[in-house]
Symmetry: C2
Subunit: 339 residues, 2 copies
Amino acid sequence: MKAAAHPLGEFELIRRFFVRQPKARGAAESGVILGIGDDAAVLSLPPDTELIAAVDSIVAGRHFLPGTDARSIGHRALAVNLSDLAAMGATPAWATLALTLPSADAHWLERFSAGLLDLADEHGVALVGGDTTQGPLTVSVQLLGHVPRGMALRRDTAHDGDLLAVTGTLGDAGAGLAFASGRPAAIASEATAALIQRFDYPSPRVQFGLAARGIASAVMDLSDGLAGDLPKLAQASGLAARVAVERLPLSDAMRLAVSASQAREWAVAAGDDYELLLAVPAARFAELAAAASRLNLRLTAVGELQAGSGVTWSLDGRDFQPACGGYDHFAQASTQITV
Amino acid sequence: MKAAAHPLGEFELIRRFFVRQPKARGAAESGVILGIGDDAAVLSLPPDTELIAAVDSIVAGRHFLPGTDARSIGHRALAVNLSDLAAMGATPAWATLALTLPSADAHWLERFSAGLLDLADEHGVALVGGDTTQGPLTVSVQLLGHVPRGMALRRDTAHDGDLLAVTGTLGDAGAGLAFASGRPAAIASEATAALIQRFDYPSPRVQFGLAARGIASAVMDLSDGLAGDLPKLAQASGLAARVAVERLPLSDAMRLAVSASQAREWAVAAGDDYELLLAVPAARFAELAAAASRLNLRLTAVGELQAGSGVTWSLDGRDFQPACGGYDHFAQASTQITV
């Protein structure tokens, strides 16, 4: 590595691309006593809250395609963590960034930091720490937030008889990834563009996570696909799950772009939607649906939980066997980007 | 990537290698309400404290040599963050791990997690979140801790007239790295082995950081070498620094292994020592030294801060010009491992 190829030092790089002037919010409101620039950040939690901490990394060739717009990469790196906090019913507050990148390319960094910081601003998140290293592109974000004491939404607290519900529509991101990768070859259209947009710019359901507090009995986010994630919620809660595949919510774009059976397959098993999966007592489903409606968010009951174990799928009343079981980075890489 | 080559799934991998049974400490003492296994961790801060958050990544070929024992890599990944918390005077409490690795090799993971978790146990740190991804080896640890409200040690709060002090001995890790890399060719000896050990297993000065609270006026840790780090403390505090190079503390191993001028060069500019650099009012230096002594830790006054800006080095009363200015990952890679 030649020094001349990397004119920006680490300190300058963080200052130039990742330190935004604080908006109207002051230290008191943001809880940031000391941000980027010291050995660590100093933060103040609101009274009577518990701290929520999530971490997720995204890696070139695993979570995004080579050549992806850096703005999408920055957005995604924060969005996947916001989705985790949404699933806890937490208010996101502070993020730290560990960024490994091959070279300090100013154009790339401008796009990347804009994607990350615009989403951070939207959700009131302050970037309070960063670390940059030269190496293969890897982005790791740690996100911190808070919930009122005892109010965090967990995945091990569902009850026998709860309905299973999902936000938004399922499978869109998987479809978008497939189209962006050129498989299946698709005629470029508004529908495929909308699906690719859903993959590139996931919308974490933070506001709905807050609204679900005190109503839902268990929540998790859908990052590895329903077939990959639902067994985790069912197992953590010690229950069996049944899903009626014909009820899985599909977007208009999905219906326009592919066959019903392909749409179903993606809705069942494709990852990266970052919708929420919720268990809710049947008597309180209407209340949860009203909360979703106030946020212009679709909420669909897709199944139920009952005593037992395992996940059973049906399609129009008949047994249904998903083609694949969700994404696992080390065991089943074939369902997502492979290297 | 073939599934058969990676028999362990991500969930199983985290469970098997990174979840230790809690020791005597229960949830009440550790503050862990919900650890690994949900979308995020739920943590409880002690009353009247502020949250401290640090993040640091280590990358193969940048922070450790190819072929390094995974135990050392796991130790280092946490140690560099513990050192940041030590520099804030914080009590470390919780860590999250973002691990990108080429393959899920059980032997490597056993060594890595032992190195990380043994050091975590030593400092009462609970691993509360993890994320594993397939890709080039990158380890990012986020460490959370706390300080009594208003008591965090910062780097921008030194005063005109403060003494500059350092813990331990300087340059050992840089010497160890040089010997481990085979430059200069050295006769294997107890001295070179001790220096290599200092590079492979840094000892973060957490207990001393706690002891320095309320005595030191500013603190930072030495990760990029005195010549790289001191200018940051001086600039943050708006002061000039003077260092008497002949006072820089050298280990017996260093004195045995290399010439005085080589030792001096490493003590001034080599990184990775993870000692603390402190500014302390002259009238309180004895108090700080006594605290160090109780921890069997050396504390050496090496210079002072005064009105002005910049850093001036002297050797036996004459001006001294350091050969290089400390380590920066993007601008001056030549002072550490290069790729």
